[in-house]
């Protein structure tokens, strides 16, 4: 497969994936922005998302706990914004997207949702930072997905 170079290829490659692979690759996107949110609930969500044999009870409790992490990290109405904190919110949202049932998200692809939230997280992190490099998260995600698809070659019938 040729490398993914733009969002059109990126989204279509994601569209072609089943739910399990979507969750796996979504978790990889989130791991690339983990520096923006050290909450252990995020890590736990990624572990469960990456595991094919996750126990349903564990899945449910992890969804509950990552949703709590999302709610605890959102900007409060009327509160002074801190974009570095908001980056953490978007990381939590991305981790939640890895696990949230599609019925909760208007049927949106979990990996695409996670990718968008990770990009928002990186963008948010740069808003309070004058010296930060321009955001290139989408390019990194193209590479992550290309590598992931490459790694699947020969492992599946």
């Amino acid at each position: 497969m040729s490398p993914i170079n733009n969002d059109w290829q990126f989204k279509h490659a994601l569209d072609d994936m089943d739910g399990y692979h979507q969750r796996q690759v979504a978790a990889l996107f989130v791991r690339n922005v983990l520096d923006l949110n050290p909450d252990p609930r995020v890590l736990k969500a990624l572990e469960v998302a990456s595991n094919y044999d996750s126990d349903p009870d564990e899945m449910n409790s992890t969804i509950k706990s990552i949703m709590q992490a999302v709610l605890e990290s959102h900007a409060r109405c009327g509160a002074a914004c801190k974009w570095s904190d908001q980056a953490g919110y978007y990381v939590a949202r991305a981790a939640a997207a890895c696990l949230t049932p599609r019925s909760f998200t208007l049927g949106k692809d979990p990996a695409w949702q996670a990718a968008l939230s990770c990009r928002m997280a990186r963008t948010s992190a740069t808003l309070d930072c004058l010296d930060c490099e321009p955001v290139t998260e989408s390019l990194k995600q193209h590479k992550i997905l290309s590598d992931y698809l490459e790694s699947l070659k020969g492992t599946e019938p």
Partner: protein, 428 residues
């Protein structure tokens, strides 16, 4: 501006007493119906949360200064003066225990606008220095920065870039001569970027030209919430100036309840003249598009879902039919909540309550009403049209261990649009 003081607070309350307020106090029959209509009273059973009691300080000023008997009592030294302790005691009733939802006004058998009076009495509390810290901070930032949450233009520009890059949609700033100027709430910019993407998708399909003003993109008006009409006027004037400079025909109020009330209903009175443009809530506009056949949707949500009417949009704004007509396009299993529409129960976070950390526990107690409504319905999904309601509902649901996603109606409509692949178009 002089420093806050009790005297200033009393003066500001006195200035709010006009003929309608005087007639409201004269007409009150002490029936107690307003208590039964109030979220905070019904869920706490604390009589101090009776709506008419929340304006007791204003009643004292009215009685002592505007009634014959009160004047005689005052002349004889029989009137109890309003003190710092009174302001302290009533502050939590006026701000923490009232979301300005207007349900009390709707049920009042003699037509007293009690909610409007509470809004007015807040003017005195703000002037006396008895407003919640969260609202003071939000109002200061709104005046100094242009957003109650301190969202600056570069943050909005970054979000626009993000949406443009990932979707191929075009979102312009400061484009003169277009039909619509869209407003956003800071909550949408910070927490729900999907709203901006949704309106961009819908307006593109409807073939409408639109823009966002870099000088006035914020819809929320903390001046209204805290009770500072002079500051509320400044915030409205910014939007009016921007809309008139761009020459737009209509300003679109976003999924923000009190932002709609501020710009649609309070605004012209605050600036003392009619607008040269129309103002509509996004749901009103979307429903017009639906009627005109300008938006085409496909597919239906199969989940059992209900709609939470934001108080400012439904009860105060009369936007009740439109969300249901829109849901008819995309929802196969819509069920109506008890007391839906104009009589809907507030989420508990309006009127600045959600910006007031001190009120958190009370807000979650008040949420029991919404919980009861939802328990009876057993829905899979809850839809609403106010970012503040959305967050308040999410927090209440989480606190009550209720696993129900909350979704914005505009976003839901956008997700069902029949549209060509946006990214494909961009790449081509």
């Amino acid at each position: 501006m002089s420093a806050p003081s009790v005297e200033k607070g009393i003066r500001f309350i006195r200035e709010q007493i006009d003929a309608p307020v005087a007639s409201f106090f004269s007409a009150c029959v002490h029936c107690g119906l307003c208590a039964e209509a109030c979220l905070f009273y019904t869920q706490t059973q604390d009589p101090r949360y009776t709506p008419i009691h929340k304006v007791a300080l204003m009643r004292r000023v009215w009685e002592s200064e505007f009634t014959l008997w009160g004047r005689i009592k005052s002349a004889l030294g029989l009137t109890k003066p309003i003190t710092e302790a009174d302001f302290t005691e009533w502050e939590t009733l006026v701000y923490d225990g009232c979301s300005l939802c207007g349900r009390c006004s709707l049920v009042c058998p003699v037509g007293n606008d009690i909610s409007g009076m509470i809004r007015k009495v807040r003017e005195g509390f703000a002037a006396a220095g008895h407003a919640p810290e969260g609202l003071i901070g939000a109002t200061t930032r709104a005046i100094e920065i242009g957003s109650p949450m301190g969202v600056r233009l570069p943050a909005l520009q970054a979000q626009i870039r993000h949406i443009q890059e990932s979707t191929g949609l075009e979102i312009s700033l400061d484009r003169p001569g277009v039909e619509y100027m869209a407003l956003l709430s800071s909550m949408e910019i910070m927490n729900f970027p999907e709203y901006l993407e949704a309106i961009a998708r819908i307006l593109r399909q409807a073939g409408k030209s639109w823009t966002i003003s870099s000088k006035a993109f914020e819809a929320t008006n903390s001046g209204i919430q805290i009770g500072a009409s002079d500051l509320a006027r400044v915030l409205v004037q910014r939007i009016v100036d921007a809309a008139e400079e761009l020459g737009v025909k209509m300003v679109i109020s976003p999924e923000c309840g009190h932002g709609y009330t501020a710009i649609r209903w309070d605004g012209p009175n605050l600036i003392g003249r009619p607008y040269k443009f129309k103002v509509k809530h996004i749901l009103e506009l979307l429903d017009e598009f639906r009627e005109q056949g300008l938006i085409q949707t496909q597919g239906l949500e199969e989940a059992r879902l209900s709609f939470h009417d934001p108080c400012q949009i439904a009860r105060k704004g009369g936007v009740v039919r439109q969300p249901r007509a829109l849901l008819g396009l995309v929802a196969a299993n819509f069920v109506e909540m008890s007391d839906a529409g104009a009589m809907n129960w507030c989420c508990g976070g309006g009127g600045g309550v959600s910006a007031n950390e001190r009120a958190d526990a009370l807000r979650l107690t008040a949420f029991k009403q919404k919980k009861a409504q939802l328990d009876a319905l057993k829905v899979d999904t809850l839809v609403t049209a106010c970012a503040n309601c959305r967050i308040t509902l999410e927090e209440g649901l989480e606190a009550n261990d209720m696993n129900i996603p909350v979704i914005g109606l505009t976003e839901m409509i956008a997700e069902h649009l029949v549209e060509t692949d946006r990214i494909e178009e961009k790449s081509a």
